[in-house]
């Protein structure tokens, strides 16, 4: 196959919030930049974020970045790196105000400032009471943000390659990153995008689970590409199950519903969160609420004929509040749950939502790997931001509204670092290795010639069901061990997938087969990392690591206060220390403590 070569200063893969924010930095600095995206930018999954973006603007209640930092570290169950968390919380006001200047249609307070609402795990004065920190555009914040960022990129003349799917990362013998291979959907042709800098902003991989709030496109393409190229993946055992996915459909209902006063109830109408989180109740952090809901269901207090869900009740809110602050939620409830939330509660279940782990990076957006005794050595030419990256600001559990903040702060930071490295002459266009596209071409050739293989749909379904059963809200040693075994078998089957459609033109079957390769890497990383971590922390809770005085909530800091690193080759595991030291002297380290809400 003929492989065209295109050369740029920088190539960005992904045009969701992180990719667009990074692109803006590069375009405005005059770098020749290519943004590759497998969907038109405004179709990226950032569009589905609802409840808001965190910033301690203090527009409605007193607030400051110290409180935000404390909440984020506590929310992460102390697995987050405190330098990156300080950086993010300090930068929040700047990037949110910038977005407002770009035209983002935030809701407003009576005095014309950005409207803010309470959100889970966000508090004032170090856990005392809920704080209004989530900057919102009704319940369509992600949509408003993604469109504003795209629009700003139109103004900046950013060069997009729309409906181009990146296939593999190109590294040379030194391990430096020189770009990617990518396929144009419309023609099936493969190109090499050769660049001095490569930024991954490819989003998460929530589609490894059967029940997910995530879009079809969330297949962990960047994470899979990095893993195949020998980059380790960090903390992949930590997946967020959002408390309120519509039962049966999986569609997200924002935590902003509880921020506006919504209450979770069991079959008997009891506000059960009062028992699990006496202080913040329904606004405890997501892992805590999801576990409480699962416990209610497991103990027979679920609602509905099969007692398999709980109820999210906003019938006590005024119809005006619902129409003004939660109009999209009302549409979703009517469309996907068949109930009008003004009149009846919404059936909800914990649903896979967010990947806390990812490609290891530092707060500058540089991808970092262990090398020569340094556990965080930057990979020359490689950067990542957003859900595909692990900075790590979310640690073992992300707070709501910190994902939109993450993609703004680290999208911008990665962009700034590339611009600095470019201007200082540190980034060079190294020659491509021989056969730079061979791995990608081999994958495509296999798909073209494979016979007697299995369908992508069947193998993908087996993976999703396996992950759902073996690595869910609660985790059990035996199930994890079986899961590792099963995922190994499924990964072998994925090597023999067969597609019937061989067309060059917009071949969805080929795209789905390539996406499955990426999902498989993520699923393997998840199950292997989860099986190995013999403690409970944040979203990773094992029945054999219970709450004891030595190990509060089952958390074993003596042995497990460390980041997992998983290597695809041989399922090898390594670990690196958590950075408990903030970036500056402006703040003391947040000391380890038991998490209660």
């Amino acid at each position: 196959m003929n492989v065209a070569k295109r050369t740029f200063d920088a190539v960005i893969v992904g045009a969701g919030g992180a990719g667009l924010r990074a692109a803006l930095q590069l375009s405005e600095a005059g770098l020749k930049t290519a943004v590759l995206t497998k969907v038109f930018p405004t179709r990226s999954h950032t569009v589905a974020a609802q409840g808001g973006v965190a910033a301690s603007l203090g527009n409605s209640t007193e607030d400051n970045w110290h409180w935000h930092m404390y909440d984020t570290v506590k929310g992460s169950d102390w697995l987050g790196d405190q330098d990156a968390i300080e950086f993010m919380c300090k930068k929040a006001n700047e990037v949110v105000v910038e977005l407002e200047h770009y035209g983002m249609p935030f809701d407003r307070t009576d005095n014309g400032k950005i409207y803010q609402r309470p959100f889970g795990g966000h508090s004032m004065n170090y856990g005392q009471a809920p704080v209004m920190r989530s900057c919102a555009a009704a319940d369509r914040t992600g949509h408003a943000m993604l469109h504003a960022l795209y629009q700003r990129n139109v103004r900046a003349n950013t060069q997009f390659f729309v409906e181009w799917m990146a296939l593999d990362l190109i590294r040379d013998a030194d391990g430096d990153v020189l770009g990617v291979t990518a396929m144009e959907m419309e023609t099936g042709e493969v190109s090499i995008f050769h660049a001095k800098a490569t930024i991954f902003a490819t989003g998460g991989a929530g589609r490894i689970y059967y029940s997910s709030t995530n879009a079809f496109i969330n297949t962990g393409d960047g994470v899979g590409m990095a893993a195949r190229a020998g980059i380790p993946l960090e903390d992949m055992e930590f997946w967020q199950f959002h408390p309120t996915g519509v039962a049966g459909a999986g569609v997200l209902i924002t935590e902003g519903v509880r921020g506006e006063g919504g209450i979770l109830r069991n079959a008997s109408g009891e506000r059960f969160m009062e028992r699990y989180a006496p202080n913040l109740k329904d606004l405890a952090s997501r892992d805590v609420v999801s576990r409480a809901m699962t416990t209610e269901i497991n103990e027979g207090r679920g609602a509905g004929p099969d007692k398999d869900h709980v109820l999210l009740d906003i019938t006590h809110l005024s119809p005006e509040t619902i129409m003004k602050r939660l109009p999209g939620i009302r549409e979703i409830a009517i469309q996907f749950a068949g109930v009008d939330p003004i009149k009846a509660p919404i059936p909800v279940v914990p649903t896979c939502h967010y990947q806390m782990g990812g490609i290891p990076t530092n707060y500058k957006g540089q991808v970092v790997v262990p090398k020569d005794g340094n556990s965080n050595a930057p990979v020359q030419g490689f950067y990542a931001a957003g859900e595909c990256a692990c900075a790590s600001v979310h640690g073992a559990n992300r707070l709501g509204t910190n994902s939109l903040l993450d993609l703004l702060v680290f999208g911008k930071s990665a962009g700034e670092t590339v611009v600095e490295d470019f201007k200082s002459g540190q980034l060079k266009l190294k020659p491509l290795p021989e056969g730079a596209a061979d791995a990608s071409l081999a994958r495509l050739a296999r798909l073209d010639s494979q016979t007697k293989g299995e369908s992508v749909f069947d193998v993908g379904m087996e993976m999703r069901r396996t992950m759902q059963k073996h690595a869910g809200v609660f985790r059990f040693d035996q199930l994890l061990k079986e899961g590792v075994q099963k995922m190994g078998e499924i990964a072998e089957r994925a090597k023999r997938t067969e597609i019937k459609d061989k067309s060059k033109v917009w071949n969805v079957a080929r795209m789905e087969a390539l996406e499955l390769d990426n999902l498989i890497e993520v699923a393997r990383a998840t199950i292997v990392s989860a099986e190995a971590r013999k403690e409970s922390r944040g979203a990773h809770v094992r029945d054999d690591a219970p709450d004891t005085p030595e190990n509060p909530n089952g958390r074993d800091d003596a042995n497990w206060l460390k980041h997992t690193l998983w290597y695809s080759e041989g399922n090898r595991l390594d670990y690196k220390p958590v950075n408990l030291k903030p970036l500056s002297d402006d703040v003391e380290p947040i000391a380890l403590a038991k998490r209660t809400y």
């Binding site: 969907v39 038109f40 405004t42 179709r43 990226s44 999954h45 569009v47 589905a48 603007l57 105000v97 910038e98 407002e100 200047h101 770009y102 035209g103 249609p105 935030f106 809701d107 407003r108 307070t109 009576d110 005095n111 014309g112 400032k113 950005i114 555009a137 369509r140 949509h143 408003a144 469109h147 504003a148 629009q151 700003r152 139109v154 103004r155 419309e186 879009a215 079809f216 049966g248 459909a249 569609v251 999209g328 549409e331 979703i332 469309q335 996907f336 369908s455 992508v456 749909f457 597609i499 019937k500 459609d501 067309s503 060059k504 033109v505 917009w506 071949n507 969805v508 079957a509 789905e512």
Partner: protein, 236 residues
């Protein structure tokens, strides 16, 4: 709902192998949990992996899976299967070149969107904090900013079919008014100049197909009327 079989008639065309497009009769058995047209299309793909269409969020916010469903444009993910008369006839969005099956080339649609300068223009030095806007002024943007660029409206508009290169179309004009209506934007005159021509704005004849098909319940015709009002007020 229970298990049931649904009949389809679907526009098929793969330029790699088909000389010309054809309508394919095909049926699929649905599970009880399948409610939306998109669920059925995913089942169809499991049966025939060459069936090509775009899809992503499956909840009506990304705008990928717009198509012509029993003669009317809509999103597959927001359309109840059981509300549709069978055989369910699916065609690509009308008026745009077909790439393959239900996938159209949206270049012209986005070109028109880009032509209205879809970004906020404010040349004052940015203040340290957010620019202020009253809740009432912010409410002017409701019904405008929620557009998902699915193209259901523009591709249901006869004026856009005849002049896709000259008439901005309902989606682009809705976006134009979104910025005209924003108290923070300072480019009103240039925006109106940009639309002052026999085609760009004035080809809208208030047929209102756009309002009828918008899956988000938006009203481009009303926005177009408001732009026309601004033109008139400016002329006086």
């Amino acid at each position: 709902m229970t298990k049931r079989t649904v009949q389809f008639k679907i526009y098929r065309y793969d330029p790699d192998k088909d000389e010309k497009p054809y309508m394919q009769d095909i049926s699929v058995e649905l599970e009880a949990s399948d409610k939306k047209l998109l669920d059925a299309l995913v089942r169809l793909r499991a049966k025939d992996d060459s069936m090509s269409f775009r899809r992503s969020c499956r909840e009506g916010v990304c705008g990928s899976d717009a198509m012509n469903i029993n003669g009317k444009n809509g999103l597959a993910c927001l359309t109840d299967i059981d509300s549709l008369q069978q055989p369910i006839t699916l065609r690509p969005l009308p008026g745009l070149p077909v790439i393959r099956d239900l996938i159209v080339d949206m270049t012209q649609f986005f070109k028109q969107y880009h032509s209205i300068k879809p970004y906020l223009v404010n040349n004052d030095p940015p203040p340290e904090r957010e620019r202020l806007q009253t809740p009432e002024d912010r409410e002017e943007l409701n019904g405008l900013y929620e557009c998902i660029l699915c193209a259901c409206c523009s591709t249901s508009c006869p004026s856009f079919w005849w002049n896709p290169d000259k008439f901005v179309g309902p989606a682009g004009l809705l976006a134009a008014y979104r910025f005209l209506a924003d108290t923070r934007d300072q480019d009103t005159n240039a925006r109106l100049d940009n639309l002052e021509d026999p085609y760009r704005l004035f080809r809208c004849h208030s047929i209102m197909n756009c309002v009828d098909v918008c899956p988000k319940g938006l009203n481009p015709t009303r926005a177009i009327g408001k732009i026309k009002d601004m033109m008139v007020r400016r002329a006086i």
